[in-house]
């Protein structure tokens, strides 16, 4: 944990304190960081419920389009790869802001958002194409579970993109100095979480063979 000098406007002598969140804490970890870890723990259960539902219902359908007819594994692998690469650019963005390189930070954070957007674009394309081939929410269990699980993940990615763009805009306004790098770290934790969840979803939906 880095320390810096906090500012006050009351004429008190400036005193050393932790950057993160401003308060010294029992653990030395800032409040915000513990909160995001706990929140992500909560999210695990949320996705866990939908992933297990998907796995439970997998291959039960007798009518409607089958996964095998619809999936283009190479295409989805590409968009998945792009999403995973966005975790790398996220790490680079964090490293850049921590060493005070704001120009590179902006490049990397924007690339992260762009990669996320590409992934969402791929998802929109996939959804549309599946829909055209007759898959929808009510035609069979596969349609219900597939659209809801991947849709919720897509919604999480979208929230993440807004989060990254807000960091970018704060940085452009000069309000995101090196002392606030924890804001980037916290957004990064969320982003990595969303990526990791996708590994599970991608495996469960696309990679495990259907019979």
């Amino acid at each position: 944990m880095t320390t810096t000098v906090a500012t006050t406007d009351h004429g008190h002598p400036a005193t050393p304190t932790h950057v993160a969140g401003g308060h010294p804490t029992n653990t030395g970890i800032s409040n915000v960081k513990i909160a995001i870890w706990a929140f992500l723990g909560s999210e695990c259960l949320f996705f866990g419920a939908f992933i297990s539902t998907y796995l439970l219902y997998r291959g039960r359908d007798t009518i409607g389009p089958k996964p095998k007819q619809l999936f283009t594994i190479p295409f989805t692998s590409c968009t998945s790869f792009i999403l995973l690469m966005s975790s790398l650019t996220m790490v680079l963005a964090l490293a850049a802001i921590q060493r005070g390189d704001h120009r590179r930070f902006r490049i990397w954070i924007l690339s992260t958002a762009l990669f996320g957007l590409t992934f969402i674009g791929g998802q929109v394309y996939e959804f549309t194409s599946f829909y055209r081939q007759g898959l929808n929410l009510h035609v069979n269990l596969f349609g219900s579970t597939f659209f809801i699980l991947t849709g919720l993940h897509g919604a999480h990615v979208t929230v993440g993109i807004f989060w990254l763009l807000s960091l970018y805009s704060r940085s452009m306004q000069g309000k995101l100095g090196t002392e606030e790098s924890e804001a980037v770290e916290v957004a990064g934790l969320y982003w990595h979480f969303v990526d990791i969840v996708w590994i599970f979803i991608f495996t469960a939906i696309y990679l495990v063979p259907y019979h």
Binding site: I34, S144, K175
Partner: protein, 635 residues
Amino acid sequence: MTTVEDALTHVETKPVNRMLQRPRSTTGAWSWFTTVDHKKIGILYGVTALAFFLIGGIEALLIRVQLWGPNGTVLTANQYNQVFTMHGTTMIFLMGMPLSIAFGNYLIPLMIGARDVAFPRINMFGYWVFLLGGLFLYSSFVLGGAPNGGWFGYAPLTSTPMSKGFLPGHGPDFWTIGLIMLGIGSVTSALNFIVTVINMRAPGMSMLRMPVFVWMMTVVAFLTLFAMPIVTAALMMVYLDRNFGTNFFNASMHGDPLLYQNLFWLFGHPEVYILILPGMAVVSEILPVFSRKPLFGYSVVVFSGIAIGFLGWGVWAHHMFATGIGPVAQSAFGVSTMIIAVPTGVKIFNWLGTVWGGAVRLATPMLYALGFIAMFTLGGLSGVMSAIVPADTQQTDSYFVVAHFHYVLFGGLVFALFGGFYYWWPKVFGKMLDERLGKTSFWIMLIGFNLTFFPMHIVGLEGMPRRTYTYGAGLGWDLLNKLETVGAFLIATSVLVFIVNIVHTKLRGEPCGEDPWDARTLEWATSSPPPEFNFAEIPIVTNRDEWWHRKYTEDEDGRLVRLPAGAATATAEPEAHHHIHMPSPSYWPLLFTIGLPILGYGFVFKNWWLVGLGAVWLMFGMTGWATEPSTEPGT
């Protein structure tokens, strides 16, 4: 010590959000809308939850009036379904959980020697979600019928598409969306409690010096954090099945209604401990004070609470013994259910050990705490009866189960929380509640409670089904049902006496000083009511039961000796508080939260304009919130 003070004087110097003139006042009526003080938020939670307690109680009386005799005609079947669904939903989500959060909010920072919770504005957001979520649920009564599928909302009863459904109308939609909203609120409170306890304890307050109350509320927070998202998922599936024709619980498309029960009870059983652990927490603070002894086996009580927190996840299927989950699952969950009785029993013996040989004072809080032990033990025993699978197949969906969980949650949680009211009232409002009225209300409640719920064991074993709006004559249930209804009105009387007590205390009560019970924990070290910054100086903790050890020591023969007055004062010279900067009041938690019911109504009525408005509103609120510093310079 100094670092804490200095950190509180740390003020952001970045440009200030100018979307709204920031509220300045921390007093007056309007300040209740903008406050971020954990104590005021705690009071708001308490008052609101008590109001919902009264509404839920009126619904209970309606149920009892309807069941006074055979072939009751006070309510129609559909009205009865709405009333019992909303009674359960209200008592669990709008009374039990928020009332526990009220106690936690008020007391946790005081007990760990902190100035505030970790996230004051998110704390206020949690309250607004609770209030607006509750109003949202209740608005269903005038917007086309309240939820009527039971508080457990079993699919496919609730999930079949509205066009061809069992439950037409918007009741179950209000229920699913309202509960998702309330879940968001309770998860934020849980996050707040967890971070506060982990990170903001006073110097010297190690985890094993924390009061048991704080420990149990932490376990509750973890349970909430992990249980709510599961039910959120299940509720979303129900909503989607109803409104968008998905097939999650549609058996004709190979969907599995049992999945709903698994998801629901995987939340629902930890929820039982979310509700009862705060009761155990309150009682563990009251018993030592009124027995003038430290809590017997502190660490055993703490670790058994943690054990309950873990084991609570392994027993959910005992709610499903009658659904055909198969003998292996039945045996496994029967055994795990009996195992969880072990740490619970350990706690009961620790409480008895605390009272044993103590200098017992039978003040009102102590009466309620002892009532808790007795009633909760009875509820636990009928729980073990239901853990036996063949017995449960007879008892399930009968009034026996109603008796069991009311002994646990009313005899447990409600008795404990009433004890908590009498115990902490002087701290919160600076005046003691009247003891004579308090004892009167306790005895009426104890008698009324047993009169209402004990006969339910018997009519249940005689086969009277629950959730059915009427019963035929000549089944031998008439007399017992009449007794139950009389008992219910006795309970209502006792609550009325409590309200009279509040008014009486407000008008006539004398100021009570900082420590009227000669208590043990840190919240009594500051004035009553405490100042906004809680402690003028952050206490340095050297003992479990810190406050007690500041007042008493032992002589050579091991006898208690009171230290000279003044030696104990943690709030010695309040000169330091000029430098304490508390978080500033804010409009944003309220403004942001208003977006949620707008979104909710949009989803209930499938009005996409409203959904869009709600989403834009939330974005606006988020932006305002994010650009406003938590502490305004110059306040």
